[in-house]
């Protein structure tokens, strides 16, 4: 059953990859956002869903990746190099930081992880020489053929490819010894310690894996929009939205995280288009309603239908 789920997941995402064949610039832009959100939700699920540590550090990783990659791109580095650098920086930083932050549990960890983004934002603001500070950072247009549509296709495919990579790694984690250990830690950390799980290492790894792909998505985002500024990429909403998406889809489920991201983006787009003035309010209301009536997320609908049909 688990295998079927994973196949469904990859099928869904592969299907999304055909978008350039019949998409226009707007649909491609939406598709790029869908992939970016899915990367964030799937990544958050590693630390929040598998390890049970509610992290608000997604915005920090995203901003760090956007700036680390963006600065390199602005200096003329190749995109792949910028991606690798951003990913490595986020992974290494999260390993080090995780060993300290993950000593805190529950709300304390949530607040500490929230602070990481704020600290990085201030650092970025202050390091004017490197990042342009509050004036933002311009990333030159790469030599791109095919005009607007060609560029949109390229950025969509890049984000989509990164989503596939993130999914492959996360599905592997779920099935590996690391995933098993994280499940033990989530359910009872002191008992996990007692049977020989190196909890500090495992939690730090989970934190690092929740950051690496988000940071790379940040770099792609910077290359895509050509101009970034601290309030944009360190936006607190980037920390909150992935959590809502994961909850919407079903906590702890990777398929759920992807579904949640897509559905969330759909709702967001519709609401934003029709209720420009109060769209965050309407969006919040919808999320509350969904969580009230579907507390175990979208993935539980199937289960519910099955048990509903079965004789009581």
């Amino acid at each position: 059953m688990k295998l079927g789920r994973d196949l469904l997941l990859f099928g869904l995402v592969l299907l999304l990859g055909t978008l350039p064949f019949f998409g226009e610039a707007y649909t491609l832009r939406l598709g790029t956002f869908a992939c970016m959100y899915a990367i964030m939700a799937v990544s958050w699920n590693v630390i929040g869903g598998l390890a049970g540590y509610p992290s608000f550090a997604t915005a920090a990783f995203f901003g760090l990746g956007a700036y680390a990659g963006g600065v390199l791109l602005a200096k003329g580095a190749a995109l792949l190099l910028a991606l690798a650098f951003a990913g490595a920086l986020a992974f290494g930083g999260a390993m080090l930081l995780g060993a300290v932050l993950l000593r805190l549990r529950g709300h304390y960890f949530a607040i500490a992880s929230l602070a990481v983004g704020e600290v990085l934002r201030e650092l970025t603001n202050t390091a004017t020489n490197l990042t342009g500070g509050g004036m933002g950072l311009n990333i030159p247009l790469g030599a791109m053929t095919g005009g607007i549509l060609g560029e949109a296709t390229f950025h969509f495919l890049a984000m989509w490819g990164l989503l596939l990579l993130a999914l492959a790694v996360v599905v592997w984690i779920e099935r590996s010894k690391l995933g098993f250990g994280l499940a033990c830690i989530r359910q009872n950390e002191s008992a996990a310690d007692m049977i020989g799980v190196n909890a500090t290492l495992y939690k730090s790894l989970a934190f690092a894996f929740s950051g690496v792909f988000v940071a790379m998505a940040g770099t792609l985002y910077a290359a895509w929009v050509h101009y970034i500024e601290p309030p944009d990429v360190y936006d607190i909403l980037f920390a909150v939205k992935p959590i809502v998406m994961a909850l919407l889809g079903g906590l702890g489920s990777t398929v759920g995280a992807v579904l949640g991201a897509f559905v969330f983006l759909g709702i967001e787009e519709v609401v934003w288009r029709n209720y420009l003035q109060v769209h965050t309010g309407v969006l919040g209301f919808l999320v509350v309603v969904l969580l009230l009536f579907l507390p175990h997320g979208l993935v539980s609908i199937g289960r519910r239908l099955r048990t509903g049909r079965a004789p009581a």
Partner: protein, 249 residues
């Protein structure tokens, strides 16, 4: 009997409370040692210090000739020290089998998932939980959870096994079963430290008993020596009773 573990003047303070005070003790290989004492005497704290949950404030813990005082819990788990918890600690969402497999997988380096699962099944068979293997751990009764706890500890292939009140809350038939299991485990060559309130169990299973009182070791000897010890009677029943008992004798 060769020495497996040696505690040398182990102490532990919690703020102003001296939970353990200069505890020195040798545990021989293959022994079944009873660790008894009134509530709050420091029995569980001693296990926590040995397994690395709490740092010792003073003293050293030697295991197989190696100083393990500063090791963390996951490290002591990997060198062959296992424990069961007084309050059972299953992974509630995992199946019974996965609970035990996890213990086999993470405590023994170089063991694959397949081998861990096979070994876990053997342990479940041994403690009599094979029929429950695929049920979630949260669905077990207390007596079954205690046996699951035991299977988890055994899956770690321990050299030294701490059993912290495995019989608390069980009825007499269940206690009888548990005692049989303990005898079989000891027969298999595992050194056992049994922390227990039920004197019937301690007296019949243990070859030697040590008594903790207010964090200090007050007696060490064979079961019959210990129950006759003046200090032990005093610790359990009070000074007044001890005096009358001695006077009457």
């Amino acid at each position: 009997m060769t020495e497996l573990m040696k505690l040398d003047a182990v102490s532990r303070r919690f703020g102003g409370l001296q939970a353990l005070q200069d505890v020195s003790l040798t545990i021989g290989r293959g022994e079944v040692l009873g660790l008894i004492g009134p509530n709050g005497a420091g029995k569980t704290t001693l296990v926590n210090v040995i397994t690395g949950v709490h740092r010792a404030s003073g003293g050293t813990v030697i295991f197989e000739g190696r100083d393990i005082t500063r090791l963390r819990p996951y490290q002591t788990a990997r060198i062959g020290i296992a424990r069961t918890f007084q309050v059972v600690q299953p992974f509630p969402e995992l199946s019974v089998l996965d609970n035990v497999s996890a213990a086999a997988l993470f405590s023994n380096t170089g063991v694959g998932v397949r081998e861990a699962t096979r070994f876990a099944r053997e342990q479940l068979q041994f403690v009599g939980l094979a029929a429950m293997a695929d049920k979630p751990a949260s669905s077990l009764t207390l007596a079954m959870r205690k046996r699951l706890e035991l299977a988890k500890a055994l899956a770690m292939k321990p050299k030294l096994l701490f059993l912290d009140e495995v019989n608390a809350g069980l009825n007499s038939a269940e206690v009888e079963q548990a005692m049989n299991l303990i005898r079989q485990i000891a027969g298999g060559g595992v050194t056992i430290v049994l922390i227990e309130h039920l004197m019937k169990v301690v007296m019949s299973v243990c070859s030697r008993i040590v008594v903790l009182h207010n964090g200090a070791l007050i007696a060490d000897g064979t079961p019959s020596e210990v129950v006759a010890d003046h200090h032990v009677v005093e610790a359990y029943l009070g000074k007044k009773y001890a005096q009358t008992a001695t006077a009457g004798a």
